[in-house]
Assembly symmetry: C2
Homo-oligomer: 200 residues x 2
């Protein structure tokens, strides 16, 4: 695949990510493409650094990242980003606050990046952009609300089973201790949960 084919394929993905929330007309999409910057983040590198500047929204076309908060030296997985998808510490980004967690590449990643200011420009430029922003936010809510529900009323075993069912590919590619922390349990517990499930 040559470079312009690659870019075309990438742009199709960028558009698909947006379309997932709302069909995007060509004019709005062109405005997005005109503002993004292409970057690569190598495995192990940070895209966003906890406590640091937090003014970038990524559209990841390739790779896998993890949102991780360090508190008193231990490592709390907040979320995973599995391409193609948006990548950002959403809350801090929107409130113009330092990132509450780091976002680290678990594999080599390729992203198209929009800055906060460019995003605001897009919003003021077009009603469609504004609406897209709203629909993205509304999509995030649906995901997070279900997550709360699951924490409130499901056991760790159920949460693990749901995770496997929803993101089967993810489990293969992420070290188990990160999955454990994402589920809110220790690595030892997750190991036992898996042992129990494979027995039954």
């Amino acid at each position: 695949m040559n470079s312009s084919e690659q870019i075309a394929r990438d742009h199709a993905l960028v558009r698909a990510v947006h379309d997932a929330f709302m069909p995007v007309d060509d004019k709005t999409f062109q405005a997005i493409v005109d503002h993004v910057t292409y970057i690569e983040v190598a495995k192990g590198q940070e895209f966003i650094s906890q406590g640091g500047l937090n003014d970038r929204l990524g559209v990841m076309v390739d790779g896998l990242m993890r949102g991780v908060e360090l508190i008193d030296g231990d490592d709390h997985t907040q979320m995973f980003f599995d391409s193609p998808c948006f990548v950002t510490e959403y809350v801090g980004f929107l409130q113009r606050k330092p990132a509450s967690f780091s976002i680290v590449a678990l594999e080599d990643c390729r992203l198209y990046v929009l800055t906060y200011d460019d995003l605001q420009k897009l919003y003021s430029m077009s009603k469609t952009g504004e609406r897209l922003g709203r629909m993205i936010a509304e999509g995030v809510i649906a995901t997070v609300v279900e997550e709360v529900r699951s924490f409130r009323f499901d056991s760790a075993t159920e949460r693990y089973e749901k995770l496997v069912a929803t993101f089967p590919r993810l489990i293969q590619r992420v070290p188990q201790y990160m999955v454990a922390s994402y589920l809110g349990v220790t690595p030892e517990s997750l190991s036992r949960i898996r042992a129990k499930l494979s027995r039954s």
Copy 2:
């Protein structure tokens, strides 16, 4: 207080609820007021019924409600609505799906109600309305994300302490078993948590 004073006071509250997310200009606010309907929901009555029609967004100026999901006969508190605030089963409302939980008045409540269709009209009518919708959604995200974080990494005792710190008035007015369910623990556990805290 006579009736027109009451309405003026209510409208100020409706405006304050919206302003909490974004300053609302007079024109946009007038458009909101022109579309809302005033209703009262008596203590014990439902505003939204689980599995039923879910096309109303309330702005509550007075009272207290609880979002409650019934699963296999037991009662799962999803959230509280403490006036002045928006009242809705947000996810289903946005996705035009039946309500995933009921919303029941814990006290006599007074609300101004907007239908889904009226809200969409507001959005298409005004870019400011569209933006307001986005900022409301973004505000909801901040709340829910913090809730997930707390479930993932805090103990039940910590979650209770945070709840008391954040909504001290709520604890006084809500039966303890509902608070327990909101925290994701049994009433017995919450009782012990409170006993332990008052001892120390």
